[in-house]
């Protein structure tokens, strides 16, 4: 996710962070300051310059600020991820209120709950993941949409934006430990 930065930071990152904060703080001050346009521009520029300079001149303090910001960003992402997941469950629960497609009540006498099913081709048993006859639509979310339509669960399409956001927020599989391409011989 864009919000969480590499940890521990490499040398250039706290400086970049200081400048980034400076740019946005400068913009904020420029917009909010009750001054004429030139005054706003000057105030914004001054704020950005001070923040930028501090990050260059005081790298240790910039690193402390970087770590604190990163901690907050991580906490936000975890909380946001949990909240969006709860919303997702809410949508599923709402869809469930419309009733089940499964026939759950006791069958009438002389009626069976068995459904006739056609057999699968032999190819289907080789690999369940990439068996023939399942053309890929490319993007994983389009796959979800295709599955929803194919399986008669069209309602599930509305979950896609929630799931996409969870996928972006969830950092459990993210690895900041080492960039790719480093030398591993020692």
């Amino acid at each position: 996710m864009l919000g969480v930065l590499p940890s521990p930071p490499r040398r250039a990152w706290p400086r970049a962070f200081g400048l980034a904060v400076g740019v946005w703080a400068g913009l904020g001050v420029g917009v909010a300051a009750p001054l004429d346009p030139w005054g706003k521009a000057a105030a914004g520029l001054l704020t950005a310059s001070i923040a930028g300079l501090l990050s260059v001149l005081r790298p240790a303090e910039a690193t402390v600020a970087y770590r604190a910001w990163n901690k907050a960003a991580r906490m936000y992402e975890r909380a946001a991820c949990t909240a969006v997941l709860a919303l997702c469950y809410g949508v599923v629960a709402a869809a469930g209120c419309a009733g089940s497609s499964l026939r759950l009540q006791r069958p009438a006498p002389e009626r069976s709950l068995w459904y006739p099913k056609a057999t699968l081709s032999l190819d289907a048993y080789r690999s369940q993941a990439d068996r023939p006859g399942r053309p890929s639509t490319g993007h994983p979310w389009l796959e979800v949409v295709a599955w929803a339509r194919r399986s008669g669960n069209t309602w599930a399409v509305v979950l896609v934006p929630f799931l996409a956001l969870i996928g972006t927020l969830d950092d459990r599989e993210r690895d900041d430990a080492a960039p790719a391409g480093i030398y591993t011989l020692f």
Binding site: G3, L5, W13, F17, A93, A94, L185, F186
Partner: protein
């Protein structure tokens, strides 16, 4: 259809709530994205690992010549190599001390400015180090460069993390490398290079998985005598003979693995060990000291000097403090050498 309507209504409510969550996260995303843009501008483009070495007949691989660029381990560092691929621009002839070794001697993970070879005040240091080398490869370079080492102090690093075991392995991550093989029915060892060629050595397994297992055994009394020490002794004997022949003075300096330097590291090494009681992180040094004593080579145990804080947190190599520490050791060695310190006196360092 009813289900779709129910889901759509719930989703609409959810989108409103989600919008609030997104707005709250906006500062994090904006600052994060801008930081990435600036970091990309400030951080120099670094070379991938494959550009730092290349295939070389007999020795397996060698460092690339005339590199002037950046590489990244835990941070980006600046590295330059000379026309032969050795770190730094000083020539062997122009040096007082020649350091032979693996990635520690190459200065992996450290800028030229903080590289130990550039920090020794009293002496000029040239390093002959290549990432991933074992002692057999280093000996082959010593053999090639011997005529240029006359009158110099040659300090040979032995990294206890993997140098001993690597001496008897045929490849490193599929790259074929010279190794030591015991000559049939004798106590002699030979350096095998016949299998070295550019093709990959077929192997499965995880690189480095056996290193801590081997180091744990070196540190355990019950593990018995290891043939790696015999292979090492054979190489050091040859190295000593070469140095004697050209009038160079050889010193052996062991580099401890950081796992040997802390309680947590000891625990890491001892996990899965059946003989925890006899664990002693100094045992590899004792064994190599014994070898050096037999061969009359001055020996310095790096473990006496280094601290776990001298190593990178996320890598096995030294940080800036570690390089300063090594520069101090070399300075002491050089001073002792000039003062005519005997082998036994150096061994007590």
């Amino acid at each position: 259809m009813t289900r779709l309507i129910f889901a759509a209504v719930a989703a609409l409510v959810g989108f409103v709530a989600m919008a609030t969550i997104l707005v709250l996260g906006l500062p994090f995303w904006l600052v994060g994205a801008t930081t990435r843009v600036f970091a990309r501008l400030f951080e120099p483009r670094w070379l991938p690992a494959t550009t730092l070495t290349e295939y070389a007949p007999v020795v397996g691989w060698k460092p690339r010549a005339n590199v002037d660029g950046y590489h990244c381990v835990d941070d980006v560092f600046h590295v330059t190599t000379d026309g032969d691929g050795w770190r730094g621009q000083r020539t062997i002839e122009d040096s007082d001390i020649v350091v032979l070794g693996d990635s520690f001697a190459w200065g992996y993970g450290i800028d030229d400015d903080h590289f130990f070879a550039n920090l020794v005040p009293a002496a000029r240091v040239k390093t002959i180090g290549v990432m991933g080398y074992n002692l057999a490869q280093e000996f082959l370079w010593l053999e090639r460069l011997a005529p240029r080492l006359s009158g110099k102090l040659v300090v040979w690093f032995i990294y206890l993390g993997n140098d001993l075991i690597d001496n008897v392995l045929t490849h490193k991550q599929g790259r074929r490398m010279p190794f030591m093989r015991q000559v049939h029915d004798t106590e002699d060892w030979e350096i095998v290079t016949s299998h070295v060629n550019p093709s990959r050595w077929p192997y499965t397994g995880t690189y480095g998985a056996i290193y801590y297992e081997a180091l744990a055994q070196y540190c355990t009394v019950g593990a018995g005598k290891r043939r790696e020490y015999a292979a090492c002794e054979s190489l050091l004997r040859r190295g000593m003979a070469l140095c004697d022949a050209v009038g160079a003075r050889l010193v052996i300096l062991t580099i401890p693995d950081k796992a040997q330097l802390s309680r947590a590291g000891h625990e890491l090494l001892m996990r899965g060990s059946r003989d925890r009681a006899s664990f002693d992180a100094d045992l590899p040094d004792h064994a190599i000291r014994g070898v050096c004593k037999r061969l009359q080579i001055p020996f310095v145990a790096g473990k006496q000097y280094f601290d776990v804080r001298d190593y990178k947190a996320r890598d096995v190599h030294w940080n800036e403090a570690g390089h300063r520490r090594m520069a101090g050791i070399l300075s002491e060695l050089y001073t002792g050498d000039r003062a005519g310190m005997t082998a036994s006196a150096m061994s007590t360092m």
